[in-house]
Amino acid sequence: MTKPAIRAEAERLFAAFQAAGAVAVEADLLLPAETLLDLYGEDIRARAYVTSDPLQGEMMLRPDFTVPVVQAHMAHGADPARYCYMGEVFRKQAHLGNRASEYLQVGFEVFDRSAPEAADAEVFALFSGMLAGLGLRAVTGDIGILMAAVRGLDTTARRKAALLRHIWRPKRFRALLDRFAGREALPAARAGLLARLAQGSPEDLIAQAGGFVGLRGADEIAARAQALIEDAEAAPIKAPEAALLYDLLGLQAPARAALAHLRGITPMLPAILPAVDRFETRLEALAARGIAVEGLAFEASLGRTSMEYYDGFVFSFHGPNAEPPIASGGRYDALTAVLGQGRSIPAVGGIIRPHLVAALRGAM
């Protein structure tokens, strides 16, 4: 696919977003690395190009538009607001192969406090319409339901916080859940650690451990030692409740059937009721916009491995073979709070990869 063909496709998508009422915004190519590292963690270094500026320090070549667009909105945006953008993003490819390390993205973001489910449906329907005729498979999900289920667990606040912190790291989440639910025996290393902690007060044990070095204070060490002892005494998450969470993690069904399933388990997991209500409201909003929700795929764990901090509705559109989705997006309310320094606004959006769209059109 030639560059002009890809750019023409990008322009077409960009114009469609503007026609849908979005204001076109620009974003810097060079972004301060610190903000992105604090948000995404050290993993982003493996994905983004880092360079250094003699005055501004470490900078990153724009790996996505989410951060600069949210920051610009939080600094001087209208409320509500609809934005669109078009430009290159840069992703290091850690493996040999033909995945692009520089490509165009075209995106659309809605910042609106009034009716989040309606905004979710607006974004999805817009993408669905723009990508119609390409034979794509759409998948939807809702991380908010999973988060509500975790928050509603009958267990300690610490365990819930640990699970929520790792919701975007499915493997680690699963390992923690297995342990908290008593499905996994206490690792020998942890048992040994607890036995040692039982031999004296944290202060004495620290004093016996040798010369004190490092910034992490004795009080911090003692606090976590105490937390470990308390956690060992906490009862496991009850089997029926844990079973519901495992069931939820693996839930994949057409949206209407998924809703019926969730309605079925809500009496046993009442904390998910508001999230399930929102799911239903969203399905109605989607149906009102002409989306065939009967056959719309729903996966409760969708969006947990992408490097975006989605915390509600998520969606992606997949081609016949392309590995990265042709388009993807979701709701990221919590991210705006992190970047907004105290302020936040409900936000939902997504991006389309025009080089993949152009390749599909070219093959037709």
Binding site: L37, G41, A189, G211, G214, E220
Partner: protein, 233 residues
């Protein structure tokens, strides 16, 4: 001509010369003692190139040398998809060192990666920045921590005296190579029980990207002498 890159000084060079010497391939420095040029006797068509051990992975990846001796840790850290770029011909049985994670011994609440992750979360909440791990093995350490689901940390570069960074308050933990653990203990650090990131040793590698059209005979002769199966490249 087959070019073989060998560490240009120190014990790694001596041990490499010994290893080849024991198999009938004599390597020696030529010219003045400090001059970086060498020769190979005992096998035809092989040229010795003396290089810094740290540069040998890059030279192999670029195909400027056909074979190279260096630490397996360096190859894994410096080359993306290392096994697509080089083939392992022989482990040489010296230069053993483990890449591990270590934290202050007074961290009585931390024994495993699971503990490190939890401590990192609490540390970030308290101090306002991500827990710092000093290392020079950025790729290996990051991939290891990602695979094990550790979050809220940052890698800070340390090219030497890494064990001292914790005392100097420029890092909270270190990821470094150790053979006996003595330097770690002397700096009041302990190794996490499940944190062996890589067990390194000196290894003979072959470059997949090198031009082998003129070097095939040299490789065959060398492999026969060393008792190795020529690699599929």
């Amino acid at each position: 001509m087959l070019k073989i890159g060998v560490p240009s000084k120190g014990r790694l060079m001596e041990k490499t010369f010994d290893w080849f010497g024991a198999r009938g391939v004599t390597m020696r420095q030529t010219g003045a003692e400090r001059e970086y040029s060498g020769a190979v006797d005992g096998v035809e068509g092989v040229e010795l190139v003396l290089l810094s051990a740290g540069e040998i992975p890059r030279e192999l990846a670029a195909g400027r040398i056909h074979l190279g001796v260096t630490g397996s840790d360096l190859v894994r850290d410096k080359l993306a998809d290392w096994d697509m770029q080089v083939a392992e011909l022989a482990k040489l049985g010296f230069g053993h060192a483990d890449l591990i994670l270590a934290v202050p011994s007074v961290w009585i609440d931390v024994d495993t990666l699971d503990d490190l992750d939890a401590a990192a979360a609490a540390f970030r909440a308290r101090h306002g920045f991500r827990l710092r791990i000093a290392t020079k093995y950025h790729r290996l350490v990051r991939e290891f921590l990602t695979a094990n689901g550790v979050a809220d940390y940052q890698l800070v570069d340390s090219q030497g005296a890494t064990e001292g960074t914790v005392k100097n308050l420029t890092a909270e933990a270190v990821a470094d190579i150790t053979s006996t653990g003595e330097t770690l203990r002397a700096n009041h650090l302990k190794i996490l029980s499940d944190s062996v990131i890589h067990r390194s040793q000196a290894t003979l590698f072959a470059a997949r990207a090198a031009d082998w059209s003129q070097a095939g005979a040299g490789l065959a002769a060398l492999c026969e002498k060393l008792g190795l199966t020529p690699p599929a490249l």
